[in-house]
């Protein structure tokens, strides 16, 4: 298949071809993953622990170097420059606790800010204004903006994390179990916020989760990951009992456990 016409309006937000990763002294975490995520699609990667969700997202942002395969974002291959078209939300927030919320949000724009400004923490005024707007958008106040992240609750921290991911106007938002450490109610609020914020910008989302109910409630499309393979791909309505048991229950008799029993 050759490249579609450059003028084609909708290069997919994310296009993975044959993505493979095996850790040096570990299992094959991703095994020839091919996946296309359309613009504006809220796509949830569902899988149990160790299924390769984090590895998949880390490969896209270059935190993990894949062994083979191709990654294209908006039709262009990934480089450090194109990273600014991606925003990432982390499971453990990935915020610098001793900086304020606003400083953390503006740090998301580090790749497009001159070094001397970073050195002095003197961000350009437009970046500062945008950080304020985003913090307001995720439901925080001026007091929160000037407070150290250390002094925020888990839910508030993840709101800051989302604001940071949005500051470069990404067309693709990656979220690695963004609500893993939050209570069910806060989880739903954060997922709603992520979905709304993405929709406002027509940004695609690739969000890993292990909570079935959240995946059902928010996803446009669910990818089931198990042992580094995509074993389910479809809308939430198609996620029936059989599909779930292949994603989750299969794990109980999965390779590792089988080994131990044999």
């Amino acid at each position: 298949m050759t490249d579609p016409l450059a003028s084609a309006p909708a290069a997919p937000a994310l296009d993975l071809k044959g993505l493979t990763k095996s850790y040096r002294n570990g299992p094959t975490a991703l095994d020839h993953i091919s996946l296309t995520v359309d613009q504006g699609c809220f796509c949830v990667v569902l899988g149990s622990s160790g299924s390769g969700k984090s590895t998949l997202l880390k490969c896209i942002t270059g935190l993990v170097t894949p062994c083979s395969g191709e990654i294209r974002v908006n039709g262009t291959p990934m480089t450090r420059k194109t990273l600014r078209t991606i925003g990432m939300v982390h499971q453990d927030f990935g915020l610098t606790e001793r900086l304020t919320s606003a400083q953390n949000v503006m740090a998301g724009a580090a790749s497009i800010t001159p070094s001397w400004r970073i050195m002095l923490q003197a961000y350009p005024l437009p970046v500062q204004r945008k950080a304020c707007q985003l913090l307001a958008r995720v439901g925080l106040t001026e007091a929160h903006a000037n407070r150290r992240v250390k002094a925020l609750s888990g839910g508030q921290k993840q709101r800051v994390g989302i604001a940071r991911a949005l500051i470069t106007d990404p067309s693709l938002i990656l979220a690695d179990e963004p609500v893993a450490s939050l209570d069910p109610r806060t989880s739903a609020e954060i997922m709603q916020l992520l979905k709304d914020a993405a929709r406002e910008r027509n940004a695609a989302v690739l969000c890993s989760l292990h909570q079935i109910d959240l995946a059902r409630a928010f996803a446009d499309r669910i990818i089931g990951l198990q042992g580094g393979h995509i074993i389910f791909d479809g809308p939430p309505e198609e996620l029936d009992h059989a599909a779930l048991s292949t994603i989750f229950k299969a794990d109980e008799t999965g390779p590792r456990l089988k080994f131990a029993v044999a």
Binding site: T61, H90, G94, R98, G108, S111, S115, T168
Partner: protein, 337 residues
Amino acid sequence: MTDIPTSSAAQAWRLKQPYGWRTLLVLAALFVFAAVSAERMQFDRMLNQIGDFAFASVGLKEDSQIGRGMGGVFQDMFPIAIAERRPVELIEHFDETNLPLFSHVETVRVDQSSLDPDTLQMNTITVEKAYLVEPVGYLVYVLGKMVETIEIAAWASLIAILFSLPLAWLCAGNYSPHPIVYGAARSLVSFFRAVPELISALFLVLAFGFGPIAGILALTLHSIGFLAKFYAEDIESADTGPQEALKAAGANDFTILRLAVLPQVLPSYTGLSFYILDRNIRMATVIGLVGAGGIGQELKGRFDMFQYDRVGTILLVIFLTVMALDLISARFRRDIV
């Protein structure tokens, strides 16, 4: 009564015992080594002398070597020298109408015998000799030397901190630009740390001459060796979450260090830096002994001239300063860190 249900297999278990014949062997070996080493270190002579001194001090013995050695010195040390009294003719540009603060001129008559060249007879003449007396002159001088000592330590600490920050970057395994740079930086830093201040000061005095320059440089080198190592270790052990997050956002190493690492390590850096300042002040009093400026240089000079009353003043000023610094830094640590 119900017994805990017993399992026959568990009855055969053997738990690891904390001590065994190996412990005994190690202890015996340590004892032999200690005995040999104590012999080499002349422990017998040390105990003899201390015993003699103890007997002598309660009157059971005539005298002891320790008593003889220290007694004279301590007797000469008190009263300590506070005033300064100098012959006027030795003072350059002496101006009787414009004396230093609180000082006065004292004239004494001294008999001088001289040979009369005509009669070839010794005759005694009385001359007036003028002295400039400053009642707290020597104490002020020593305090000035103490301030100089603190200045040496402060400069050394400041320069060391400034150089250690970039050096720590090269020494941190996860941020060093290249393995060769990492190896070179690490070796340099451990070399700096391995050379004691007193020894580097000895050579720096040869290179730069007597005075504070050698002292500042000697302290700086050693402090860099200490700070860069511990700064680097803090960088290496910083929480990786924020660092990965910024890396995923396309930030470069410098940015990550500034925004994700520095805020994390800053409290620890502050503590380390204050520790090195504290230590440098104490070390700065010592390196003067080899001529590297500060109060130690004055101490060494007076000690060599057997002016023990002045030595007493110097020691008192050092002790009081170090104790005061201890109090200040303890309070400071409570408030800041």
